[in-house]
Symmetry: C2
Subunit: 297 residues, 2 copies
């Protein structure tokens, strides 16, 4: 589809030039697969920093992005996507491809259909499984997506050519693409991403409410550090994720509360410590197996 | 108390020569503050590896350790401490100091009093706030305690000289010593260490029980990795910690279940997303503040 002189994405527009959008632009630049990068954002200071860092070539508004870009990458909180898509729709070129990096997919697919009307097939919902609790253009990293999975949830009638183009772009960033149904994605991510964030944040809120919170926090070590790291993430982004995937998260949470009740009962019964030990063993083996398989300790 | 030729600990006995005990010996060796290191353990293969790694000079039994050591460091699961102390008691020299690295302190203090009888003042309960989900002598690290806190919970009538000796030893390992009451220690650690482990392990058990566990785990990223890391810890060690600090952990767990109920209610009410956002904001600020103060992101 292209030769060396002809990048995969002649003109890229990134809506939201922070960690996710900035890293996408930087990744494509690193491998010479993008021509010009347009940046769109709510925050002029952030856009200026993105430009100073070389992540974007110029700041534009949404209609300009729609008129000029070959690929538009939406890297905003989910609640900002519908207004952005509505602003893009009237001036969108028919050959422009749109995708996003939102952490939920059913909701994003639905709002893309509503906002883009008959042009919804130009939009392929996506979710790179990569991130950090850091935010802003300074956190952008050309290798953020390297070796990571990216889930795409195309519509049933998404043209194969468009899908193929987007897969090649993500592979150029070093990512591995996995195609899924949006509801399957949302259930899986509700379990392995959204519920842990919910629990870590609720736990953190509990710790700081204690009367002797300072003493407690002063004794917190590396286990605490890692368990709570995700709780530092953007409240706005995570509010959107939770409400966008509310049913799945509430379902996982109800399951967790039931499981936790069984674990509590095992701890309450001090005549049978082997019950809790067997449960801890199962959890430890599962975690070690996952860590080994994913080369992540 | 000593000069350059005269190490703080002429003869050290380490009971349990894995991560915690091995790192203690290695830390003192690194700064030249230990003469000879005796290793005691249940597992002959582990003792041989500890000796091959240079962590211990020779493997001995508990009576030999009691007869020869100036300092005995108990680095075993808590349930192994009472039998070890009972074996040490009859042959213990009156000038030998004992301490431990157990994660709970009220229970350890009580069992030391029971096992050592009138010699209990030779024992100063301790807890280095450092660790790893790795185990065994291979995981030993001379810098494990560097910059970490060590809590000591002396008895009301612990001699000041003994306490001072132990503080100097820990400071030689690079640790900062904090004196606390055992019950205050156990409440604080129940909150910042034991409850997170309990939640991470229960969560991990939930994930692997799902029908599509493989799909889910295949989409798990760095947030999942960090949130669940502690769940890989030793089931035996953690069984002991949970039952040893049962009342505090159950109290913290009950608090958490109440807090989680409030968070669930905030997510159920989709007409007021700002409520959950404010809760997420509080958690994020608390976590960022802690990370900044402790130079741990």
């Amino acid at each position: 589809m292209n030769d060396a002189a002809d990048p995969l994405v002649p003109v890229l527009a990134v809506v939201g030039t922070g960690l996710i959008g900035g890293s996408f632009a930087a990744a494509l630049r690193r491998v010479g697969q993008v021509g010009r990068v347009l940046g769109v954002g709510r925050n002029p200071a952030s856009l200026r920093r993105a430009q100073a860092l070389g992540l974007i070539d110029e700041a534009v508004d949404l209609p300009q992005a729609a008129a000029r870009a070959d690929l538009i990458f939406l890297a905003t909180p989910i609640s900002a996507m519908a207004p952005a898509l509505r602003a893009l729709a009237p001036v969108l070129r028919p050959d422009t491809l749109l995708t996003d990096a939102g952490s939920t997919k059913s909701d994003v697919a639905r709002l893309a259909q509503e906002a883009l009307g008959e042009r919804y097939l130009q939009f392929i919902p996506g979710h790179p499984i990569a991130g950090s609790e850091m935010t802003g253009p300074e956190a952008a990293d050309p290798l953020l997506y390297h070796g990571r999975k990216v889930v795409l949830t195309p519509f049933d009638d998404t043209p194969g050519l468009a899908q193929h183009r987007l897969i090649r772009v993500w592979e150029a960033c070093g990512a591995r693409v996995q195609l899924m149904r949006p509801d399957a994605h949302d259930r899986a991510l509700g379990c392995v991403s959204h519920l842990p964030h919910f629990l870590a944040a609720a736990y953190m809120a509990q710790v700081v409410r204690a009367e002797d919170a300072d003493t407690r926090l002063g004794l917190a070590g590396t286990g605490f550090r890692d368990f709570t790291r995700i709780a530092a993430g953007s409240p706005e982004v995570w509010r959107d994720i939770f409400f966008s995937n509310r049913a799945a998260v509430l379902g996982e949470l109800a399951d967790f509360e039931r499981v936790l009740g069984r674990w509590r009962a095992a701890l309450e019964d001090d005549s049978h410590p082997e019950t809790l030990e067997a449960m801890l063993e199962q959890a430890a083996l599962a975690r070690r197996f996952w860590g080994g398989r994913n080369q992540m300790s």
